[in-house]
Assembly symmetry: D2
């Protein structure tokens, strides 16, 4: 879209949830741009039926309606590659929202190509990260695409004006669904559910326990631990307790196990790409287990320097994903390095899940680099020469000895 | 020490625990090097009386005996500076052993200077990291010092030969203390206790619950959570629940609170600097709380780019400490950057401790950069112009749009 | 400035060169914003008189006129700190324009504070990096300041419309100066002169030799080399050929020496922060010498790991300066580390300047870490034990030997 | 080799130059280890005939003699991949020696496998980097191999004792070759020639001009510049002035061109991996041209963030190669990222060579990301919206504005 005037748009693909806000957007796009609207609704594991969106779209006069089940693609091509890097944003956040956006952006563009649309649209606000993620992806994949971000354009910035718009345009408010409106701004997919706004806007205020949807509280979790065994192949989980599963099934099952044991709640203040701090609370049961387990299997199979290099690259990689640069050449470059490292990340990890905590209690692998003969505290029968350590230390110390000998003082 | 022959040593300062092994070393040094031995025993919070080491040393004929309480120095000058960086080795390990070694090295050299000794000695083996940490520190602080590492030199490599040596030299075996000999190799200080060896040498084998000394198991922890409030000044904790405390008192109290709630157990396979993998289990109750809390207060007070830069530097900083380079110019250089960032890390963090998990539930600060007016989901009265986001995204996307326009394909 | 409407501005401080463009801006500000204009003109070594700007400003009706000689501050507080890091953007560019902008931004804000102005303005276009550098600095130092960037707002985007505006408003065109208008867009200060535009917009086209202003061509330089000796204290040059000089005098003299020997021409394609590539040609005679010399003195005095850490941090530091983040907490954090490293960077470097090339031919220092006794190929009388190397190699190889022993293949 | 006693060795592969030192090693190995010796002599472009080594080896009683021309493999699989990263060690050194060692190590192991040898041997001293590079490579590729490093073992540490050994064992001293013995320790291959020792051991002393072998001095170079055009495909040079060439032919031709124009001399103090500083002088005519040219073609074709990421990774990559870790999983991991970036590095670079300086004067590519329509200073017909810059700057400044608004002071 041009910066200064309303552009000519003939057809726009909208990321349509079926909810009230995006239903208003349909109408607003039709009115404001006098264009055809194509809706796209995806199941990425948010836990709500997507099929009802069809009837709602039809009621709004939409002719081209796309409803896709993207759960396997989401986990296989986005979640799993990200977890290969032990990715954490700002030391804490598992990037549950961030990693879903590039998939949506890709599908929006694919549908635009297929339907001959010249624009895409989404329901993200002008204050958040999601607008950036959608739009960077769209521009990177189709540079001439126009982007319409209604929340940055329209005047419907309060709930009241939005409701008035609905009444005026005969948009049934039950589009919002039968559920009581949550006081929080939420986002869900197979990796996580997030909560922002409401009383969370005071970072000193503890989140209410009844806010959470996917996990029981640690206090309410079972009094006996659950043990689970994960099988890795090339850095990805391929089986749980010996049973092979697809990527989406793996994540769904780990969500179930984690949620039942009170695992994966996170309460943080994070730094948005647009420049402000915000407070977010997340439930990521399966992801929390996966991060711990992946470090466990890597600890046995990865070379030390490869592991350290990965740790040094990770914050940058996490930042790229958080900021919306999944579809960028620098992310691809880092992914090439990360994926190269994962060929040997095979084996099993055994975990204990108990009242909010996940602990690695065992790991084994045919690709293990752990060498009992050398590591042992017992007699190693000559596998390791302790005398070698003297030269090792002497030469590592040499530069500092020379410096100290010339009067440098480190105290 | 020269690499090829027994050097001339007239006086050696030994890091002496009062236990059997270092008592044997006293005798062995006297016999092998015909030198005077100075013993140095430090209280760094390992939880055992250090005064009894005096009588034992005297019984071995030692004339110069140093017994120091280094707990405050340990926490103030080593533990706290390290925690300012949110330091984790290999994503998991809080460096409890690593961070104590440079203090011991420093005192060994100070005592060598004071007593005119020309050598130091320690009881670390030739397979581990501690020899490196002691010796790199010693060489960096006094380049001409000789280092005697008996475990790399002598033939007493098995328990049997060691016992035979004791008998032969009238070293009372009760020097080992009245406690039943643990099957594990252990190391303790105010930050942590570590366990290696025994059945832990199989990384698939879960640690026995009765191995742990400082913490109850999560299962045995109280059924109701404990809440605690920490006050930070310049990145360090200065009060708990509003009560000012010294650094060592802070850590001791957090160990008590954490241990009572089953917090801080960690079971990992780690990469040693000498080149092998080893399995270690750690209890770090207070440190686990401190890491989480420090991230909490930083999340509110640190600039985003400073926080991200710290995250990128941290793995290198952790590696330096793990590998024994505390007393190095590169660690000082990194510390200068880290400390520069901490001037604004002031405020309070509220935490929930429950059955092995520690959660930040609130944070507040006079130095907060959280701006409710801007972050709010409600109307912000013009504090933030959503329209700005369009230009922000457009220019951030420009390089990728140009590339895509010229045919680059990111899929 | 608000994004959507003309803000209320009562007084604006303009970075005023005295040239035609900024003179037009004076008039345009007065007309468009009906506000008072304060002009600020700085001598940062661009090689043109600044005093004539006074009469021109007076002729435009300006009452508050600031004309400052900032050359010493520029070199001392901006150029020298940057050179401590061996800073190069994209491996080539010495950041001559970038490093001057934060000083201008700082003075604009100081003058705004002093005169009670509520806005600043500048003559940078909307396509370049300089607008970003000016404005990021201004916002960081005075968050409520308004910024007016005429080139992003007005309609005078071509030379013709600009000239028409002059005629219409009686702005004498000789404000452009008597010099023939260069076909290039140029920027000069004590560190460099830059050229963009014109036939340089074709990256395959070689720059004309008569474009250059500060340096003779290598072909025209003397047939005998010039030798020069620089004295460093804490990483900064304090004397040339034994003669103490102020920072600005150092840089002026090195520009003279370099320019006379054809040194410091650079022709590159660079990546702008706003997302496009541009072709720039630079003359940086003194800076080119300083970079080479600083590496020379560091090579003798810096610890290896400190030097390597600096090299790893440098690209980020360069990027910060290029992108306009001098006045940021992350730049300060990096500077703290860099400056910490420079305490020992003292001594002399001897250089050969010849027909475009600068070569270090000698370096010496009381803080040298070069140890002839150890480095010698001759007998070192036991200063270094070659046997130590065996253990050093063995343990450094251990992780790879274990891996290969377990079947890993690196070929 | 065991650290403490002479190991049992039945057959050893020696990196044999045919010179005096390695001829002495042949004899010494036969005598000391009573083992069979296999010699391996490689042409890696050092500029001396390798075939004469055959007769010398035969005269020493060697039965298995390997003489290989490795020039193409050297440039194709080692030099070119390294140059894709714009690799410089400590900001200056093109790693000419370092990059040849892993190839030698690989061939030593291949020959050991082929001949059933259980050990390798080399003529590198115990003070340098080359021993590390040979041995790390050997251990990584064949973990059970024994390594014999005579210079670390024998007593022949002075020229006199060596000569006495020759006389005693009837080793003809003319093995040293007819050439006058250089006062420098030298190493040559197709990428460079290096000089150490002699009067270079004083870092203040300028190298004598008659030391250099491959390049004329800049003063003696032609008075008119030479222009050359290089063609790149996927980051490697495939043609010079339009003529396709093999990798080794490319480097040989660039050496010729560079040497004739006085290009590629470098005089530095560098930090060895074994802990000391040393002074080295290098001639790298072709490599110096290649570095400059590769940056030139990348500047046009690489995405900005990819380029910056490469710059941040480069120092680590250079350190790995310098320290001898070519055959390591972390080098492979970095190489995967680097190679991923090079798919688009195609096109032509035009260079000017003149009296020691190499300058890029033009670059063009079908994969160029330079967009004249956007970069132009002239009217761009709406290709770029200058207004977008305002939002870009505003949001990039937001975190600092909030901070300043809350009282943070960056001055």
């Amino acid at each position: 879209m041009s910066s200064s005037q309303t552009p000519n748009v003939s057809k726009v693909v909208l990321a349509y949830s079926g909810g009230l806000d995006t239903s208003v957007i349909v109408k607003w796009l039709q009115e404001t741009y006098h264009c055809e609207v194509v809706t796209f609704t995806a199941d990425i594991g948010q836990g709500e039926e997507v099929e009802p969106a069809r009837a709602k779209a039809e009621a709004l006069g939409i002719k081209e309606i796309f409803i896709d089940d993207l759960r396997e693609e989401f986990v296989r091509d986005f979640v799993f590659p990200m977890f290969r890097a032990n990715t954490l944003y700002e030391g804490e956040y598992l990037l549950g929202t961030s990693i879903a956006r590039p998939l949506i952006a890709k599908r929006l563009i694919e549908i635009a190509n297929q339907t001959g649309a010249d624009a895409i649209s989404h329901g993200a606000t002008g204050k958040g990260n999601d607008q950036v993620r959608f739009e960077l992806g769209a521009y990177a994949l189709k540079p001439g695409i126009q982007v319409i971000a209604p929340w940055r354009e329209w005047e419907l910035s309060s709930r009241e004006t939005l409701m008035a718009y609905c009444e005026q345009h005969n948009i049934p408010v039950d589009f919002a669904g039968g559920k009581k409106k949550s006081p929080y701004s939420m986002d869900a997919n197979l990796l996580h559910i997030s909560y922002e706004g409401g009383n969370l806007e005071d970072p000193w205020c503890e989140a209410d326990d009844d806010m959470y949807r996917w996990s029981v509280s640690p206090e309410a979790a079972p009094d006996t631990p659950t043990y689970v065994e994960l099988t890795y192949a090339r850095g990805d989980i391929v089986a749980i307790d010996g049973q092979s599963m697809t990527p989406a099934a793996v994540l769904a099952e780990l969500n179930r196990l984690g949620g039942a044991n009170g695992i994966g709640r996170l309460d943080i203040v994070e730094n948005r790409y647009v420049g402000m701090k915000s407070r977010g609370v997340y439930e990521t049961p399966g992801g929390t287990i996966m991060l711990k387990a992946h470090r466990g299997i890597e600890s046995l199979t990865l070379d030390r320097e490869v592991a350290h290099l990965k740790d040094q690259l990770m914050p940058k990689y996490a930042e790229l994903i958080y900021n919306g640069y999944w579809w960028s050449p620098e992310r691809k470059m880092l992914q090439a390095a990360i994926d190269e490292s994962q060929q040997v990340v095979n084996g099993e990890v055994r975990l204990k899940l108990y009242k909010g905590a996940v602990t690695v209690v065992g790991r084994r692998s045919a690709d293990s680099l752990f060498d009992e003969k050398i590591a042992t505290f017992e007699d190693d029968a000559g596998a390791y020469h302790q005398k070698d350590a003297e030269g090792f230390i002497k030469l590592n110390a040499l530069r500092m000895r020379i410096a100290a000998g010339k009067g440098r003082n480190l105290l």
